[in-house]
């Protein structure tokens, strides 16, 4: 329990730092921060009201505290381009992103893990060489370009799947009608994490297999499947750490992939914020995504502690 | 003349010790208020041209003592006097001035040379720091390498990994010489070398001491090596001095039970000379929780109740002292001479 508490406390300064960086985004934008957060056609009354509400005539520290107070109450400001609350925009978009991630992440994990284990089972075999090759090429693969190529193949050349969008939105979540829109973006998102998970799993399993306890298990006459089960269980904490990192990669990658597929998620929202120079929308989206990443890392940390007794003392 | 820097001129004359250490102390704090007593009230002096050997088991504070002398770590208490001048403090000479006169050779010849620099640059670094031009420093480095019998043209441009252990240690000695020191602290300087190479380096050290009028503090756990090179020897145990005296006397007639045990524990080539004295058993006590009284008492075959009462001071003859109650007349130890015997 002490470990859990300590990890929680360690994450707090990080979360604080992340909030400061996000707060600063408005101030690194060119020009007066006031002009950055009010629409260009705002009336003088609106400008004055915003100026007062944000404390823009007060010192920076006070401005930050006012901003933090609002954020903690779920108020992320107002989008300049849509004049809707940023929190609402982000929540709607986030749901769509999570739909993609919910498809891409397990796919990347299962396929990547299976490939890694298969490669480690027969080192030097064709699966192993393929996994190693994919890992080398995969890290240099721009996921947005993978998306474009997939669209060219599956939508333009073979007309199998829709190229962009997410359909009518009325179809049931798990129906083919809505799933078919998700397949290409999910593959674009999942491909690179899959390669990395495969490579890491392979390295991890190979490393564990060389440990003495595996030799002991074999010496005791355990069946190969029992040995494999022991190895995989020991590999799990490290795999979870990789998955946590890849989750962050997926969220980052979604920015570009969603833009390619016009998938109305948080990444697409960021793209829109950039195109419309909508800094409040940018700030809010970045803050929420970064905080999700911080929370994921914390969760991974805690899971690892739970699964690996050696970390509990630390 | 060689082109090594001239050492700082002698000031106090031959009678004044080159280095006096008074009551040096260094404690390393551990968590929860506990401290390791690494060096605990060590005093000694080294005469000019002398080699003082320092022996003891690993962990007895030898290396910490060397680092205190070199000011590589601050001392918690005590005084260092170099040729009459206190080191540090308002009236003393600066640490930089002291390092101009005292140099050190480290134990691990492999990690004590920068792997990315040709060895001549490592040797030239000292003179560079002390204000010589690049070419002048390199010239000094070459002279220093010659001084340790290495061919500067052949060895100088090489990298440490291209040299043997003995060559690396010679380079380390050359690096110390390149400053033109009066005294060199040798911290286990030959311990990592093969026996045959060890002998060569030891002979080189003896020759250098004579040729360059050096003074050595020679730290080692190897009694035979210390006996070979030292004039006097100081025995340390758990951060304190157990015995100090001329090397012949200490080895022939050790006065402290710890020294006796230490001498007995070394292998003898002559079966007839193998003593029946009990070698030390067990490990040194944890230097964190020190026993009250004599630090050696828990492992000492002669320990009595009085030994655990107070920490004995160095006592005994004129220049051969031991910190043992047996040496103190009337101390209450059953083996100590009576008071009348002293009178």
């Amino acid at each position: 329990m002490g470990t859990v508490l300590r990890r929680l406390l360690l994450a707090l300064p990080i979360a604080f730092g992340v909030s400061v960086v996000c707060f600063a985004l408005v101030y690194i934008a060119p020009g007066d921060p006031l002009q950055t957060i009010v629409p260009p056609d705002a009336t003088q009354a609106t400008i004055d009201a915003v100026k007062h509400a944000y404390g823009l005539d007060k010192p920076l520290v006070v401005q930050y505290l006012i901003w933090l107070w609002r954020v903690l109450h779920g108020n992320l400001g107002t989008s300049i381009s849509t004049t809707r609350p940023v929190a609402l925009e982000v929540m709607l978009a986030l749901g769509n992103t999570m739909r993609l991630v919910a498809l891409a992440m397990p796919a990347a994990l299962i396929v990547g893990y299976a490939m890694g284990v298969a490669a480690a089972r027969f080192p030097g075999g064709w699966i192993d060489r393929a996994v190693t090759g994919i890992a080398v090429v995969g890290v240099s693969l721009p996921n947005y370009w993978v998306g474009v190529v997939l669209v060219i193949l599956c939508a333009v050349q073979w007309s199998l799947l829709p190229a962009t969008g997410m359909g009518s939105g009325h179809a049931a979540l798990l129906s083919w009608e809505s799933l078919r829109f998700m397949i290409l973006p999910s593959i674009s998102l999942a491909l690179i994490p899959m390669g990395i998970i495969a490579r890491s799993t392979r390295a991890c399993v190979l490393d564990l297999a060389s440990h003495d306890f595996v030799l002991t298990l074999r010496a005791k006459g355990m069946s190969e499947s029992t040995v494999t089960r022991h190895v995989l269980r020991n590999a799990l904490p490290q795999v979870i750490a990789i998955v946590g990192l890849q989750f962050g990669y997926l969220m980052g990658g979604s920015i570009l992939v969603e833009t390619v597929f016009s998938w109305p998620g948080s990444g697409f929202l960021l793209g829109r914020a950039i195109q419309n120079r909508d800094v409040p929308l940018l700030q809010g989206t970045v803050l929420v995504l970064a905080m999700i990443f911080v929370a994921t890392n914390l969760l991974v940390d805690l899971l690892q502690v739970r699964l690996d007794p050696r970390l509990r003392r630390g | 003349m060689n082109s090594l820097p001239e050492p700082v001129a002698d000031r106090g004359g031959p009678a004044q010790p080159l280095l006096i250490a008074r009551d040096l102390r260094k404690y390393f704090p551990l968590g929860g208020g506990a401290r390791v007593h690494a060096v605990d009230g060590v005093s000694f002096s080294i005469a000019k041209g002398e080699t003082l050997g320092i022996v003891g088991e690993s962990g007895c504070g030898k290396s910490t003592l060397a680092r205190l002398l070199m000011q590589l770590m601050p001392r918690d208490a005590g005084e260092l006097i170099l040729d009459g001048d206190p080191v540090g403090g308002p009236h003393g000479i600066s640490v930089a001035a002291m390092r101009r006169q005292v140099q050190m050779v480290f134990q691990d010849s492999a990690s004590s040379l920068n792997p990315r620099l040709p060895v001549q640059d490592s040797v030239a670094f000292g003179p560079r720091v002390h204000g010589r031009s690049r070419s002048a420093a390199l010239e000094v480095a070459r002279a220093a390498l010659r001084q340790v019998h290495l061919d500067p043209a052949l060895i100088g441009p090489r990298y440490p990994h291209e040299l043997s252990g003995g060559q690396k240690q010679r380079v380390n000695i050359a690096r110390a010489l390149a400053i033109g020191p009066r005294m060199v602290v040798l911290d286990e300087a030959v311990s990592a070398l093969d026996k045959s190479v060890q002998a060569q380096v030891l002979n080189l050290l003896v020759q250098l001491r004579r040729d360059l009028d050096l003074t050595y503090m020679f730290i080692s756990h190897d009694l035979a090596v210390v006996r070979h090179i030292s004039h006097r020897v100081l025995v340390m145990y758990l951060g304190q001095v157990m015995e100090v005296g001329p090397v012949a006397q200490v080895f022939a007639a050790p006065r402290h039970p710890y020294t006796r045990a230490l001498l007995a524990s070394r292998p003898s080539m002559d079966p007839a000379r193998r003593t029946e004295t009990l070698a030390i058993s067990g490990d040194p006590p944890n230097p964190v929780d020190l026993p009250p009284g004599c630090r050696f008492a828990p492992r000492c075959p002669h320990a009595e109740a009085v030994c655990t009462a107070a920490n004995p001071a160095l006592a005994g003859g004129a220049d051969h002292l031991a910190a043992c109650l047996i040496q103190v007349p009337g101390s209450g130890h059953s083996q100590a001479p009576g008071l009348e015997a002293a009178a």
Binding site: P13, G17, V18, V20, V21, C22, L25, I28, A29, P30, V136, V139, S140, W145, V148, V149, I152, V156, G248, Y249, G252, I255, L256, T259, I274, Q275, R277, Q283, V286, L289, A290, F293, V294 | N2, S3, R67, M70, L72, A96, R99, F106, D108, S111, S112, N114, P115, P118, D121, F125, G126, V129, H130, R142, A143, R146, Q147, P152, A153, P157, R175
Partner: protein, 301 residues
């Protein structure tokens, strides 16, 4: 010693040795690099890409910014246009060659600047005592808490998103990992005996860092920086793709990809070309980097 003086002229033969040593470590690494087929493949690819970018004015068959309505969206080999023409009728091959200039600069320059700044911060953190370490590394931790694409997009997006803004954003993204690598390399060196030996000669901290630490930190930092370039090429093209780089009509691979995407139904594979250029450049840097890592691994840091 008299012999010392008499040998002094013999110091002259040491001069070639002195020259030899300048090349020895990095020369050795270079020698090992040349013997690696993967690294050499990467180097060859890179040579083609970089030379093409440098000599673009002489190599490019057409003016990259001159198009014609009649030539819009033409397939491969169309009337002398080897790789077709884009949505404004400009020659694709010429634009790809010219685009390498901005794309390479935007990929490489931020890593180099981050290497300098992050390296200096890492050295300071690793050698400047506990307070400096805590201060610097905790700030780095915060930037680490962002996925790199998100941080780059956030900063470039907030700043307005020109070429310079994009490069600043990328530099800021790469400083923390660079700093971490430099810090851990410094921490490893810091505890070695030769640093203590250098202190015993009376050298100050700055002089020790300059002569004894940097040389030992440079290796790991260079390897890491070279691996970052591969990432940086992807990331910078991604920023351009989102409109956070150069503005049209300047040729740049990321920007070209984004303006061509709407035309994939007309000339699909022409539209995919800029992405292929990004991919090949990144993989060329990646191959070279892993070769470099292997070459420097032979003998520890």
């Amino acid at each position: 010693m008299a012999e010392g003086m008499s040998i002094a002229p013999a110091a002259l033969p040491a001069a070639p040795g002195a020259r030899r040593r300048r090349n020895t470590y990095w020369g050795e690494v270079g020698g090992k690099l040349i013997r690696q087929p993967g690294a050499m493949l990467g180097a060859a690819m890179l040579a083609v890409i970089v030379l093409a970018a440098i000599f673009a004015p002489w190599i490019a068959p057409f003016d990259p910014n001159k198009g014609s309505i009649l030539m819009r969206l033409k397939p491969f080999f169309f009337r002398g246009h080897l790789l077709g023409a884009d949505e404004l009728g400009r020659d694709m091959l010429s634009r790809l060659i010219w685009g390498g200039r901005i794309s390479l600069a935007m990929g490489v320059v931020p890593v180099l600047i981050a290497m300098l700044i992050g390296g200096a911060l890492g050295l300071t953190a690793g050698f400047g005592g506990k307070l400096a370490n805590t201060l610097i590394m905790r700030v780095m931790d915060v930037f680490y808490a962002f996925p790199s694409v998100l941080l780059a997009v956030a900063i470039a997006g907030a700043m307005g998103g020109g070429l310079i803004d994009g490069m600043i954003a990328l530099t800021l993204v790469f400083i923390p990992p660079m700093c971490r690598v430099a810090e851990s390399a410094t921490a490893q060196v810091r505890n070695l005996d030769f640093i203590e030996a250098a202190r015993a000669t009376g050298a100050g901290g700055f002089s020790i860092v300059r002569h004894h630490v940097i040389g030992n930190v440079l290796g790991p930092v260079t390897v890491y920086a070279s691996s970052l370039i591969s990432v940086s090429v992807l990331l910078s093209a991604g920023l351009s793709f989102l409109g956070l780089g150069v503005q049209p009509p300047t040729a740049d691979w990321g920007l070209m990809l984004s303006t061509l995407v709407p035309s994939i139904y007309v000339v699909p594979w022409v539209c995919a070309l800029p992405g292929a250029a990004i991919f090949l450049t990144s993989i060329a840097f990646g191959l070279l980097s892993s070769g470099l890592r292997a070459a420097m691994d032979m003998r520890g840091a």
